[in-house]
Assembly symmetry: D2
Homo-oligomer: 155 residues x 4
Amino acid sequence: MSEPSPQEFRGLVEGIFKQIPFIQEIGLELHDFDLEQQILSAAFSLKPELIGNSWTNILHGGVIATALDTVGGLTAMVAAYHRMGGAIEWEEKVQRLTRLGTVDMRVDYLKPGRGQHFICSGTVLRVGNKLVVTRMELHNDAQDLIATGTATFLY
Amino acid sequence: MSEPSPQEFRGLVEGIFKQIPFIQEIGLELHDFDLEQQILSAAFSLKPELIGNSWTNILHGGVIATALDTVGGLTAMVAAYHRMGGAIEWEEKVQRLTRLGTVDMRVDYLKPGRGQHFICSGTVLRVGNKLVVTRMELHNDAQDLIATGTATFLY
Amino acid sequence: MSEPSPQEFRGLVEGIFKQIPFIQEIGLELHDFDLEQQILSAAFSLKPELIGNSWTNILHGGVIATALDTVGGLTAMVAAYHRMGGAIEWEEKVQRLTRLGTVDMRVDYLKPGRGQHFICSGTVLRVGNKLVVTRMELHNDAQDLIATGTATFLY
Amino acid sequence: MSEPSPQEFRGLVEGIFKQIPFIQEIGLELHDFDLEQQILSAAFSLKPELIGNSWTNILHGGVIATALDTVGGLTAMVAAYHRMGGAIEWEEKVQRLTRLGTVDMRVDYLKPGRGQHFICSGTVLRVGNKLVVTRMELHNDAQDLIATGTATFLY
């Protein structure tokens, strides 16, 4: 297979999201996917299973960490893909990208995870030929910044 | 209500675990609960929904972060409870403990989350009159150290 | 003493910087100090003692961590000061601010610390009545982003 | 040059410590260097320049971060050296080890840095063919655990 178009690439990533059971469990869906400007985000909605405190109806911290980790990984994948450039065959790129994994992550819980809809976005801090470092933010539908994270990925 | 016995305390924590939807979703159950030696752990088993990679059948990083965060919070709760000591009424202690929340957490993913059963344990690094810092470890049934974490809690 | 003017406040902070031996050792000096917009930064220049690698002449990682920690603390101090508001006496504010300390910090080393002059700036992610979380960035004179950090402070 | 003996290796590391200006500035010296059991530590003593608070005479947080980063890097170097094994030439090992750098680090400040003498030790959490993750601890002469850290290194 040859290099995919932006639409095909989006389709591939949506396919990956659908094949990962825990991403489906949380309900994370691809939102922004602008490869040019590297604006990447995923969205999810409140469901009873995601609650961490039944009195206050806020998200469990693990749901927040899952969203940050997933969007960090997505951002790292796109950054690594661009970094590998035209000299590497698409098949080899795919192989390296499927091996991409989180090395470590810091999460800062800034406000209670209150809301009905949440958007998690990622940006790249560093991309090398082995590592990507990304920063992630989680906002609710009132535009409150619920949490931020920083993560290191190896590919 | 007066100060609970160790067995009553264990029952209370088990009750809290059962009332938190996302903990039930992951399937985390209280395992060790030795208040004297502050040995605290929770266990869970592999389920299809927890998988992060359908080819390799390993846990999603978010499941690992959820286990570390939950056991860190449990450890912090017990540490804060002891720290408050005999001068504070049980009712006030309960109020402060129910407000306990994660401030930040670092997770290090050391090995792929392979296995059928997992145990996550916690220890206290620092306990003050406002903050607790804990360290957590996640092992699989082959005794592999899958991940470690360090987290700061406010109560 | 009554509440200080912005200029007096800047003078107080410069006085604190001058009284901290390790800040003098590194050569960190207050740079931006805009209380209104909470733009806070400190600057320092390369000296032989700050080098971490004699072949490449780059800063030691510990120098970078020192700059991030110091500017994070400065940012947290200003945020905590504003948060305490008009109801608390200046003397009590001073007492609480002098007790402010770093709880934990993450540093991401993004590029080698090359350059002659460096500026480290801070922003506030969260300010509560006990904790402040800040983010810090270190740039060199070529505007390269050398390192970022996130830190939690207790006051 | 051929593979060094343990004594020669210790000599090499001591030479590196002496050639790094900022390590000399802090006064860090190699302490334990047991390659077999991978027990590695460095020691330093209080000097006026290292103080972060002139009233309480405690270490600046940046000094603590410097000690943790340096000992983490030393531990990672030894772990990477062993990991490369017998198949790789000593010259190539040296080249890769001199490129070893800190990717990120978390520091937890547990107690004020009070004391006259300090020992910082490191252990390995993960060693791969590109990355090493280490944990570090800083104790004072009263055996108080002053700070811990976790860091990721690339080689």
